[in-house]
Structures are given as structure tokens and as C-alpha cells.
Symmetry: C2
Subunit: 221 residues, 2 copies
């Protein structure tokens, strides 16, 4: 019997292309940052807040992933940054070949950071290595503190977890200690940043962390 594990094939092909993306990012010396989350966790608002804080110090481009619509990339364009919209037309995640196609459309020689806003989905995007320097995720307070138990792969593959919408924590039963315990059991090196893109609380802390990582990479130019 011939046994073809198609999923394995897809992931191996993806991994090869992710290596090509890593090579390109090393050559062109830009920092590639993948942001994942559930729908509505606040990725777009968070990215706009980062652009407002770091846009003067770093040259930033954005890759917007969506199943349909261009509403998010329109918001990014208000900040005057180069944006590439990826429309998957149904696919529930971005993969490395899509990222390579998007990178070809960006002025990479003029960029320090390329931000990827992934599809809103806490499951499938975690399976696809995009070659990013920083794979990261948002978890919003209204989603609850038990998500690491239920969606463990996402919390395992990320290096930074931004806990968003903390300004509404008083209205939800969100236990930050329980989150830290659940996350710690899966991925002890995951850095947790509680923040609110709306009020600005915690944004400076996060941006210092990000600026440190980016500077470390691009000053090796």
C-alpha cells in the first residue's frame, strides 16, 4: 500500500519556503513579526498603536492577511506605511509561500520591520511556520483565561503573548495568575505583556521589548 500523508507534505513544503523567507530576511536585514489571534482580539488596533509608537524610529511595512475584505489594510494605509493585502478567499491561515509572494511586493531594502497580521484563528495558523523572527499572539481579556488549555499549539509556538483589552478586565472574570500557570506549563519561555491598545497601558513596555529585538537584528547590518 502507498501511504501519502498530504498534511505532512504540505507542512514540509511550507517549512522549506519558511527557510527561504528566513534567508531573505537575513540578507535584506529586516525583522519579520507574525501576529496571530482569534477573530476580534484586537490585532489591527494593536498594530496601529505600535505604528504610532515605533513608526518614527523604524521603517515598517505590513502584510495583511484576510479571508475577504480590505478593511484592515485601509486602516494601515492611514499611517502611510507600505501595505500588501493577502486575500486567501477561504483559507483559514497564512503559509510561507504566501508570505514570500507578499514580501516580493514590499520595498524590503527600505524596511526595518515587516509585520504580518495573520488570519483571525487560534488553531491553524499555529501549524504554519512563516519564517518570522517573532511568532506572537494576542489573547484578549474577554476571551477568557483558559485558552491555553484548549488551544495549546498556538501558545507553544509563540515567543510573545500580548494580553489585550486589559482596560475592560474589571468587567470580566479573567484570572491573570491562572493564565500564567496554564501558559507556563506549555511554554516557559513565552513572554506575557498585559496591555490595552485603546488606553495605551502596557504599550510602552511592549514596544521597548520589540525595539530591542529589532535593533539587535538590524544593527548587525
Amino acid at each position: 500500500m502507498e501511504y501519502i500523508d498530504l498534511k505532512q507534505c504540505i507542512l514540509e513544503d511550507n517549512e522549506q519556503m519558511a527557510d527561504q523567507v528566513r534567508k531573505l530576511a537575513a540578507e535584506k536585514k529586516f525583522f519579520l513579526w507574525n501576529i496571530m489571534s482569534s477573530p476580534g482580539a484586537g490585532k489591527t488596533t494593536f498594530i496601529l498603536s505600535v505604528l504610532d509608537r515605533l513608526g518614527s524610529g523604524f521603517r515598517i511595512g505590513v502584510i495583511e492577511g484576510d479571508i475577504e475584505s480590505t478593511v484592515d489594510s485601509q486602516k494601515m494605509q492611514t499611517r502611510g506605511v507600505p501595505v500588501v493585502q493577502l486575500r486567501t478567499g477561504g483559507d483559514c491561515h497564512l503559509d510561507a509561500p504566501m508570505i514570500m509572494k507578499a514580501l516580493e511586493k514590499l520595498p524590503l531594502d527600505e524596511l526595518d520591520i515587516v509585520i504580518i497580521e495573520n488570519i483571525g484563528n487560534l488553531v491553524c495558523p499555529a501549524e504554519f511556520d512563516l519564517g518570522a523572527d517573532l511568532p506572537s499572539m494576542l489573547l484578549s481579556v474577554p476571551e477568557g483565561d483558559d485558552k491555553a488549555i484548549k488551544y495549546p499549539l498556538m501558545f507553544s509556538v509563540c515567543r510573545a503573548l500580548m494580553v489585550t483589552k486589559i482596560d475592560c478586565a474589571p468587567y470580566f472574570d479573567f484570572d491573570f495568575d491562572a493564565l500564567a500557570r496554564n501558559v507556563g506549563a506549555l511554554n516557559s519561555s513565552l513572554r506575557i505583556f498585559p496591555l490595552s491598545a485603546r488606553t495605551g497601558e502596557g504599550m510602552d513596555d511592549f514596544c521597548r521589548y520589540l525595539a530591542g529585538l529589532v535593533s539587535e537584528k538590524i544593527t548587525r547590518k
Copy 2:
């Protein structure tokens, strides 16, 4: 060249099994209700609230879908209802064959309603017909009013949309009229129920609607 569209094959196989599920639900005269949403939209809390309201009038069983963990089915068991936990171990959606397996474990002759709590994912579950009498979804206020534009398939396949966590609407910029417009453009027959499982607001309206649908089916016994 031989061209095999594997996705098409998977969906066709699923559709055949969904027909078998429909046949079983007609024979055994139970009402099958599929509940989908993003992670953290409040499916479990909502179902517990429905059990508290309708549990005395109807005999209800629950199928819990999760990638990992049994935390939700443990909560269901506090209500004394029969529960089957489906662990997908990575898969991002439930399909009709899984539902058939779960139904075989439930005392169908003694049930009026079988509730399916799908995987938290606004994308892939929408592609898989489970043979349900009522395919439905939750959208929580914190997720935002633009989700129908970005995840159109989910809003297209459902018959009921429960807008949850309306008790925290004052803290979010959620435009109910915008949601209704976006939804109406996709699926004019989708019924919208604003509610809060925490405060109980809107729950009686929804439960009257559900009880009507269930009674219509099971009184044909």
C-alpha cells in the same frame, strides 16, 4: 492528467454522512443544534444558561468538541445532562462522521435536543455540514461589528446569530446597526438575538425561539 480535488472529496464524504445524521435525527425525533463561534465568545456559558432555562421542559444532551481538554464537558456535567466529549487532537472543526460517532454514545430515544458545541473557530467549522436542524453562531460584542465582512461563510450558513456579552456593550464601540447591515447583505434570513448569558438579558427571547423550533419537530412524533 488525473486531477483529484481532495477538499471536494472530503466535503462530499462529509455531506453524505450529514445526510445520515439528518435521517437518524428524523427517525429518533431529536432536534440537533450546532453552535459555532470564535474562541472565547461564550459558547459554554451560553449553553449552561440554555440548560438552566429549558432543562425542565426538554430532555437535552450535549456533544462537546475540543482540540484538547475536557473543561467544558465537566461544566456540562454539573447540570446532570448526558455529555459526549469529542477530542480532535489538533483538527480545527467538527465533521459529520465525528457527530455520528458521538450520537451513537447518547441515549437518543430519551432526548429531545442534542446540542453540539463546536471548536472555537470562525472559519473551518462553517464548511462542514453536521446535519443540524439549527446551524447557529455566537458573536461576542468584544469581537466587533465587522466580523461578517471578514468571515462571510460562517454568517452565510447559519440560521441564528446570538450576539453575546451585550452587558459589556457600553465599554466597546459595537454598532448593532452596522452588524445588521453587514449580515443582511450576506444572509437576509439570519435571525439575530442580542443577549447576555451572564445577566440573562435576551435569554428568554432566544429560548422561546428555540423551544418553538424544537416543539415543531418533536411533536411530529
